[in-house]
């Protein structure tokens, strides 16, 4: 079943509202949201920037002018020039090429961490809200416990157990984000759980799994999409933070976090080594935030 093919009541709207009348056609809330999104200039800028970054990461081998790991000691710590757009690092490696290759690790880290958190948080939030009572109390108290830890310390503790590395850093950041998803999903599910169409499905004999999968989940998608967009951005900053501390991606594999960490030692004499990876993070995360804000406004214009 296609999510967009049937009239959907978004969580913020009453169930009976199936769309806005534009001329003769009835527009579904998803179509209305898409139209509002396409009118948002900042949202589109965010989307275009993300497409460029994603394209650069996917086609890194073609886009990057130099190898990200090849050392050339004749051009150590050179400032930006026509040959090396963003200069070279302490080993003579091209910073621009390393940033393009680093986009792979950084985007992958952010997206994977957010996806793991999404899957686990979605399941926990849905079960908590749908069944309520004891299940709700136990799950949400566990989420409170995770939230009590300052995120970087919790991530550090997880990496201390699992050992440093990109995969473990992603798992650590995912664990930190699970409660955020669980809370958003729980709130969204609670708002649709007692809607008429859910009651109707139940009256027709639909089981819990069918109701959750076919009726509740599609109607809670809007806040989940917004949360995920914003989450990937912060996950990029946080996984890069772990790499910065030496707990994520290990050198010589480029990652925006470990590039910044290496650049730290040369910040006075060769500031470009640390400046450009940070700018890459800033531009990418800003794009995710612009996109997330625009999606939120598109799904629920009253929040604007």
């Amino acid at each position: 079943m296609s999510v967009t093919s049937e009239p959907l009541a978004l969580p913020s709207q009453p169930a009976k509202v199936t769309g806005e009348r534009t001329g003769r056609r009835i527009t579904t809330p998803w179509q209305a949201a898409r139209r509002r999104f396409l009118r948002s200039r900042t949202g589109l800028i965010g989307a275009v920037v993300l497409l460029i970054v994603l394209g650069a990461a996917i086609f890194a081998a073609r886009v990057a002018p130099y190898s990200p790991t090849r050392q050339d000691f004749r051009v150590q710590s050179q400032p930006p020039s026509a040959q090396h757009l963003m200069g070279t690092d302490e080993f003579g490696r091209d910073v621009f090429s390393r940033i393009i290759w680093g986009a792979q690790a950084s985007l992958e880290a952010g997206a994977t961490a957010a996806s793991i958190a999404l899957i686990v948080g979605l399941a926990l939030g849905m079960v908590a809200a749908f069944y309520g009572g004891g299940a709700d109390s136990v799950i949400m108290r566990c989420m409170d416990i995770i939230l009590a830890f300052p995120y970087i310390l919790l991530a550090i503790a997880v990496v201390a157990i699992l050992g440093p590395g990109l995969l473990n850093a992603m798992i650590a950041i995912a664990i930190v984000y699970i409660p955020h998803y669980a809370r958003v999903v729980r709130g969204a599910v609670l708002s649709v759980r007692s809607r008429d169409y859910v009651e109707a499905a139940r009256a027709l004999g639909a089981g819990d799994r069918r109701i959750m999968g076919q009726h509740v989940l599609p109607n809670t998608m809007a806040p989940i999409i917004v949360q995920t967009t914003l989450c990937v951005g912060t996950a990029i900053i946080d996984t890069a933070g772990l790499s910065f501390l030496g707990l994520g991606t290990q050198p010589p594999t480029p990652d925006w976090g470990n590039m910044l960490s290496a650049g730290r030692n040369y910040i006075i004499d060769a500031p470009w080594i640390a400046t450009f990876p940070g700018l890459a993070i800033l531009v990418t995360v800003l794009a995710f935030n612009l996109l997330g804000d625009a999606l939120r406004d598109a799904f629920d214009p009253r929040l604007r």
Partner: protein, 334 residues
């Protein structure tokens, strides 16, 4: 009010117990033998046995758990494997500068972010609002460790206005009393040392404050906008009050309520940011302490630090909630 505080306390105790349980189980989740993981493969059998004894790993799990709870209730966090020192004492030395940095960042964030957000709400659809919103959006998109590096380069190295690293100049002597550099320098009556400590605090505090500042300005703007459109303000205006009086006497008080919560909840985020900021600026603090401990697989230090900092955040959240109830009586009855 008393009932509310009691209810809130009963919520806090299971969370604190949960935090302790997670930290307790974490050590036992290390794949293989935790004792060998701690001292390394090359350690002698006697060495491994000593660690096992020290950590009580050779006892049944429930006994270990009970002992663990008894120890943390009396602040006995064990001994550091790396230095051999008492973790509680070492933590006290390292936690105070982190709290100091976090509070300094919080002050900057509120002093700048709050007026900016309020001004953005009052001057809607003007340059003031657009600039505030753009700056705050950029603010929440920047990694704190990168801002730190940029501040070091531009204002430390290039302009030479601030020191590049450290918490106090090597030539300045600050006697240790509370481990808070600002308080200790004031207690010693050495105002030159106090100025030196503040001078070292400026750049890291600004770096750490940016995200909180952005969040505070966004929150105070939206909170103010909501209050500005409420009926009682229309009444205030209708009875002839000047706009300034409407904003200051009526709107501000209610708009500040949600901001208090956000500011309080930022303490956890600030402590996280402080870990990274301290690494960038080479400052003594929990961040450097725990990161060094991880590289040395000094698990008692990691365990003790995570436990105490998390407990600190839980207690801060409790205080914020109670403060919230004092400010807004409606909260107590929900």
């Amino acid at each position: 009010m008393r009932n509310y505080i009691l209810r809130r306390l009963t919520h806090t105790i299971p969370v604190l117990l949960g935090v302790a349980t997670v930290v307790f189980l974490a050590l036992r989740m290390i794949p293989g033998d935790p004792a060998i993981a701690l001292v390394g493969d090359k350690a002698s059998v006697a060495e491994v046995e000593r660690i096992r004894q020290d950590l009580g790993l050779n006892q049944p799990l429930p006994v270990q758990y009970f002992e663990f709870l008894t120890h943390i209730a009396t602040f006995q966090l064990g001994r550091s494997i790396r230095t051999g020192g008492d973790v509680s004492t070492e933590l006290a030395t390292n936690f105070a500068p982190t709290i100091e940095l976090s509070i300094a960042a919080l002050i900057i964030a509120v002093v700048v972010g709050l007026p900016a957000g309020i001004l953005a709400a009052i001057r809607r659809h003007t340059g003031v609002e657009y600039v505030t919103m753009i700056v705050s959006l950029v603010g929440i998109s920047m990694p704190v460790y990168w801002i730190g590096l940029m501040l070091i380069y531009w204002f430390g190295a290039r302009a030479g206005w601030f020191p590049l690293s450290g918490a106090v100049s090597t030539t300045v002597d600050v006697p240790t009393v509370t481990h808070f550099y600002t308080i200790d320098s004031l207690l010693s009556g050495n105002f030159a040392a106090f100025a030196d400590v503040l001078w070292h605090l400026v750049l890291p505090a600004i770096a750490l404050s940016t995200i909180t500042m952005a969040i505070v300005s966004r929150m105070s703007r939206s909170s103010m906008l909501e209050v500005l459109s409420s009926d009682y303000l229309t009444t205030a205006r209708a009875k002839g009050l000047r706009e300034n009086a409407v904003v200051v006497r009526h709107a501000l008080k209610n708009a500040l309520i949600p901001v208090v919560t956000v500011v309080g909840l930022q303490m956890g985020a600030l402590l996280s940011g402080a870990v990274l900021t301290e690494t960038v600026f080479g400052r003594v603090g929990v961040g450097r302490y725990v990161v060094t401990a991880i590289t040395a697989r000094d698990y008692p230090v990691v365990q003790g630090t995570v436990l105490i900092v998390a407990a600190f955040v839980v207690i801060i959240n409790l205080v914020v909630d109670v403060l919230y109830a004092v400010l807004d009586p409606r909260i107590r009855y929900t």
